[in-house]
């Protein structure tokens, strides 16, 4: 059922190997890098928002402390 006689035939792609494998290579590259970048952005955003939340709550509690002491 497999069309190819040998592995080297498969790689050679009847002489068009460079073009075919470059196409697949570009695809694999894109489909690997996109999710990686998306995941990294997610992590960075969460870290940044957590930091901001902490900073805000510290500022709030300091303000509360200042307001409460008479």
């Amino acid at each position: 059922m497999i069309h190819w006689a040998s592995f080297s035939d498969f790689i050679a792609m009847g002489g068009y190997g460079f073009y075919v494998w470059s196409s697949f290579g570009a695809t694999v590259l894109i489909m690997a890098i996109e999710p990686i970048i998306a995941a990294r952005n997610q992590r960075t955003t969460i870290a940044r928002l957590k930091r901001q939340l902490r900073a805000e709550s510290q500022a709030d509690s300091r303000a509360d402390y200042r307001n409460s002491s008479q």
Binding site: F10, Y16, I30, P35, N41, L49
Partner: protein, 248 residues
């Protein structure tokens, strides 16, 4: 009395965020399955093309990428229309999440088109109607991404981007028609990117790869939209609870 299952709940970012997160692995897995099946058929089983030899196998990337680039644009335009009509926040976020993937698909289509063209017709680029229209589609994507990036206010960015998408989607048939007219008159090269009668294995390989690209696009768009949601809704209770609860 039972509550009726309300689909509109999912228009709320608070509800959609965890749903999208749960679905991503499934879409990714389905994409891998379709991809393996498509590659098996296309690369290992499908016969040699009579006219083009083995080089034709690039279509298993080129055609799915082209289809996805056009399909994603239509989906973005759909969300644009929904967002403008119903003033929903999530539609704009979804459109912005889809854009980079759509642009990359258009770029991949052009790149593989060139890699196909060079051995087949001797030139890295040919100005046939489809490749030229694909190039213009890439410009439309870039215009959308530039516009939304230039506007600081998120809601204005969504709406302006949405209007641009709707104007673009109306123009696409006009652009395609004019490019076709231009191409046939200048009789550069009449290229048939796909043979009129394809072997069944070739056709199925292409369809399976298209499904793979589609599932992949959904998974990546969901990943992106979650980040956009967190950023935009950072002052809401649900996001604060999520952050405090140790979200990663």
């Amino acid at each position: 009395m039972k509550d009726r299952f309300n689909l509109y709940r999912f228009a709320s970012p608070a509800v959609f965020y965890p749903l999208a997160g749960a679905l991503i692995p499934y879409f990714a897995a389905v994409a891998v399955v379709f991809g393996l099946a498509g590659l098996w058929l296309g690369m290992l089983v499908a016969p040699t093309d009579f006219q083009q030899g083995e080089g034709y196998r690039i279509i298993f990337i080129h055609v799915p990428a082209s289809w996805m680039s056009m399909f994603i644009y239509l989906v973005m335009a759909f969300w644009a229309a929904i967002g403008l009509a119903f003033n929903t926040r999530l539609s704009g976020m979804m459109a912005q999440a889809l854009a980079p993937t759509g642009a990359l698909m258009a770029f991949l289509s052009l790149l593989t088109g060139a890699l196909w063209g060079k051995p087949m017709w001797g030139a890295w680029w040919v100005w046939d109607a489809r490749l030229t229209s694909e190039l213009i589609l890439l410009f439309l994507y870039i215009g959308y991404m530039a516009l939304t990036a230039a506007i600081d206010d998120a809601r204005r960015a969504d709406k302006a981007g949405a209007l641009l998408l709707l104007v673009g989607v109306v123009n696409i048939p006009i652009i395609y028609f004019s490019v076709k007219w231009w191409n046939t008159l200048h009789q550069g090269s009449s290229i048939n990117l796909a043979k009129s009668s394809m072997a069944t294995t070739m056709l199925w390989g292409m369809l399976l790869m298209a499904m793979c690209f589609w599932m992949y696009s959904i998974a990546v768009a969901f990943m992106r939209v979650r980040t956009i949601m967190l950023e935009r809704e950072r002052n809401t209770e649900w996001v604060k609870n999520l952050l405090v609860g140790g979200e990663k």
